[in-house]
């Protein structure tokens, strides 16, 4: 079944198709979310929210839209919203932090990273938090999710040229951040 057919079947309210969609796309949604929010539990919460929204807004999805594009967009938006909410909570939790043991900020081990590269991957995720949001999303979609320039362009609503430029700037900024980090930490 291709994606437009799946959307039609979903709109008809076939519960088996919905389950099929969840089983097929849950890893993609979860992986995108975990790379952005850098927390397994939060990523799972976002994954559930994305599929709940799919269930609730089936009527608003246009037939010709690719389901994967819609899922990517909703996942990215929800993950970024979640991040902003967490930052707001952190700002408001100054008093709370005085009485609780603080976690080491920004340390994240991606569960899919290869064992020999885990340490470097953790440094990469730390550095990703220091580059602009649009560059970070483009980098995650292309470099981590393995999407082509064209696919990243469709998902982010940019032109292919803009995506190429975003990725070039993302790599340049990451190099700067990582160089500074290694110079001070080794």
């Amino acid at each position: 079944m291709n994606q437009p057919e799946t959307i039609v079947k979903l709109k008809e309210g076939d519960p088996a198709v919905f389950d099929e969609v969840v089983n097929k796309w849950q890893d993609m949604v979860y992986n995108t979310a975990i790379s952005i929010v850098q927390n397994g539990e939060d990523a799972e919460d976002i994954t559930q929210e994305v599929f709940v929204q799919l269930h609730l807004s089936l009527d608003s999805i246009k037939g010709e839209a690719l389901l994967s594009t819609w899922l990517y967009r909703v996942t990215i938006n929800k993950s970024l919203d979640h991040e902003k909410k967490k930052k707001r909570q952190k700002r408001g939790g100054l008093i709370k932090s005085l009485f609780s043991v603080q976690e080491e900020p920004g340390h994240f081990d991606h569960p899919g990273a290869l064992a020999e590269k885990k340490e470097k991957a953790a440094v990469l995720f730390k550095a990703l938090n220091k580059i602009p949001e649009s560059q970070r999303i483009a980098f995650i979609l292309h470099k981590i999710e393995g999407r082509s320039y064209g696919e990243v362009a469709v998902i982010t609503g940019n032109s292919v040229m803009a995506v190429e430029s975003l990725l070039a700037r993302a790599k340049a900024n990451l190099k700067k951040v990582l160089k500074t980090w290694y110079e001070t930490n080794i």
């Binding site: 969840v22 470097k120 440094v123 470099k143 990582l178």
Partner: protein, 119 residues
Amino acid sequence: MKQIFKNNPVSGIDKLVDDTINSMDGHTAATPRPFLLTRLHARIRSNTSITTSWDRWTAFITRPTIALTGLLLVIILNVFIITSDDQLTSTRIVQEDLNDDQEIYVNTTYLYDIENIEP
């Protein structure tokens, strides 16, 4: 790692930076905990169970913040009524006393006083 820097620190860092940027190459997909679909169905059920306007209203007023605010308002209103009632009662008592006094002191400066003017 430190050996690389001893030989050529600048190119060592550049290599490290490139390796770090490419550190997610060949990674495996992370997977959510098992039974995500079951948890998802439960979440959808709980989201869609609140459908009628009465259910929404009940859910709204039973929120802890709303319920506590309502309770606080009732208490404040009660205190206000009790204190304002006390003030009203005391004013009424004073007014009644004055009326009583006026009734007791009979005005005697009428005919008798006029007819018996003392020299």
